[in-house]
Amino acid sequence: MKVLLQHLAHTRSGDKGNTSNIAVIAYAAELYPYLREQLTADKFKAHYAGVVTGKVTRYEIDGLQALNFVAEGALGGGVSRSLCLDNYGKALSARVLSFELDVPEALRPKLRGFG
């Protein structure tokens, strides 16, 4: 079934220069393999098209059931120069909540805020 990422994982973004890192952390260990398989760096970059202008690198921290996306060219030139109201990009992590994944029906009980 199709589910939005917000039901599988929680996220937080951080800033360094003109780069935003967005951590995506599975709510349950059973959900992590689906995130790992379907939320690739390319898919992430496509979902952030228009804001992330540079390279996206994905790191996997399997022991924490977490993915870390390092998105370059995401902060309008850097925190001190950006014209975006959210110049630190603290609200950027919310965009990936709307990424759609395909998960088995059997995992419904593991999803947060669902149904």
Binding site: Q6, G14, V51, I61, L83
Partner: protein
């Protein structure tokens, strides 16, 4: 040697709340209380301010409030303090802290001021290229206002070894503030990258204060914490082998759980196996977390690799100005009026010949935060703020933004919500660039001040 060292957080950045620091001082039963009081451009902004206003002391503008809040509790419990409130004047900050200690009647308290991170006059000789774009740092000569090296834990440990009860520094890597007490109490060697990796990793979990105790976390119905208005700052109970329990004082809101710890662990981290600090290269990928009881998470197996031969340097440069303001529409047709208003602003900027590097006109309520990522089928909002900002080389050009927004009242369109501008709509940009300096070129020094 203690078997467990209790270290509490008192501040995560310049603007952090003060009450939770007082709670930790009074109820945390702490061996150490650590303050992180800066942001990226704090040092640069302080140097600019000092040049314009020689009466500015050059240390944390909230120093008096923060010290008054924690000193009584710390003196009662014998809690030592490590703080980076010194900014560009650690000696001055130390003297001011002694002033407050004397007012409290404290006797025999030694306050150490750690200097050496400010390298404005030497930075172009000491550095080679800018990390962000590869250009020579020499290209920054005309606009440079400030430069600081990020010190690590060693000078803080040295101050403790010399008998300091309170250590005040300028720029230090944030995790180092929290690791220094561990290094000192457990006798960790500066080259012991396994221990320092763990210690810096714990420092990274602590350095953002409430971000690990339920702050920057809640998402109602998905991630909830009790009483999010009542968040405590964290406490780490560290052991000599680098393992620890992360917790908070009871009787507060928030939570310390696997979710809060994981989010903070990866915050501002790029490659999680190579998180570079002045003390060590931290590897978070081996970390193990265990929720042992309510609001207690055991953190083990964060590891480390040998430290790099360089220290990071931040270079602050004047880079022009930003002019910014907003006005409002609401009710049926708010969006169509906002769109016409934007068109008028664009034409007005041409009439007054606005010379800007970048102009941004957002509809706050629709697309200001996520910009071009905003879904095209996002619903029309009931109310919208037209928010305009421009980056310019001169203050005169930036002023035009606020002046043309002024013109959107009487000379604009119908049903426009406006306010009289109470705040400055023009600000100077201090841009920050990064470089590297060989570690041995930075020699900290320590001055003592006593009650």
């Amino acid at each position: 040697m203690k078997s467990v060292v209790r270290i509490g957080a008192a501040s995560a950045w310049w603007g952090d709340r003060i009450e939770p620091a007082r709670w930790n001082a009074e109820r945390g039963d702490l061996d150490y209380l650590c303050f992180e009081t800066m942001a990226e451009a704090t040092i640069s902004a302080a140097q600019v301010r000092k040049r314009r206003d020689p009466s500015f002391p050059g240390y944390d503008t909230y120093l008096d409030d923060r010290m008054q809040a924690v000193l009584p509790g710390c003196l009662k419990r014998g809690t030592k303090i490590i703080t980076n409130q010194g900014w560009i004047n650690p000696d001055g900050a130390a003297e001011r802290i002694v002033y407050w200690l004397n007012k409290l009647g404290a006797k025999g308290i030694r306050v150490a001021a750690v200097n050496g991170s400010l390298i404005t006059d030497r930075v172009l000789q000491l550095t080679d290229h800018i990390m962000e774009n590869g250009k020579p740092t020499a290209t920054l000569a005309d606009t440079l206002v400030s430069a600081e090296a990020y010190l690590g834990a060693e000078p803080l440990v040295e101050a403790l070894k010399q008998g300091a009860h309170i250590v005040v520094s300028g720029r230090v890597a944030d995790p180092s503030l929290f690791m220094a007490p561990m290094m000192y109490e457990f006798g960790w060697n500066a080259l012991d990258h396994e221990r320092l990796g763990a210690g810096n990793g714990l420092g990274h979990l602590m350095e953002c204060g409430a971000q690990v105790t339920g702050g920057y976390f809640s998402d109602p119905g998905f991630k909830d914490v009790p009483e999010p208005w009542n968040l405590a700052f964290p406490i780490v109970e560290a052991q000599a082998d680098g393992s620890a329990v992360l917790t908070k004082i009871s009787g507060t809101g928030g939570a310390v759980n696997l979710m809060t710890v994981k989010e903070q662990m990866l915050y501002e981290v790029h490659d999680p196996a190579h998180y570079i600090t002045p003390d060590v290269v931290v590897d978070f990928t081996s970390a193990r977390l265990e929720q042992t009881s309510a609001d207690r998470v055991r953190v083990t197996h964060i590891s480390g690799k040998p430290r790099t031969p360089t220290l990071k340097v931040s270079i602050g440069c004047t880079e022009g100005y930003i002019g910014e303001d907003m006005f409002f529409y609401a009710g049926p047709g708010a969006l169509r009026r906002a769109q016409l208003a934007r068109r008028i602003l664009e034409e007005r900027f041409k009439i007054v010949k606005l010379d800007a590097e970048e102009v941004r006109i957002d509809f706050l309520g629709l697309n200001a935060i996520h910009g071009a990522m905003t879904p095209s089928n996002a619903p029309e909002p009931y109310e919208i703020a037209v928010r305009v900002a421009a980056r310019t080389r001169t203050r005169e050009e930036a002023i035009k933004v606020g002046r043309e927004v002024d013109g959107m009242a009487v000379s604009g369109i119908g049903m426009t919500g406006k306010r009289v501008p109470h705040q400055d709509r023009t600000r100077e940009i201090i841009g920050v660039w990064s470089s590297l300096v060989p570690r041995e070129k930075i020699v900290p020094s320590i001055n003592f001040f006593e009650t």
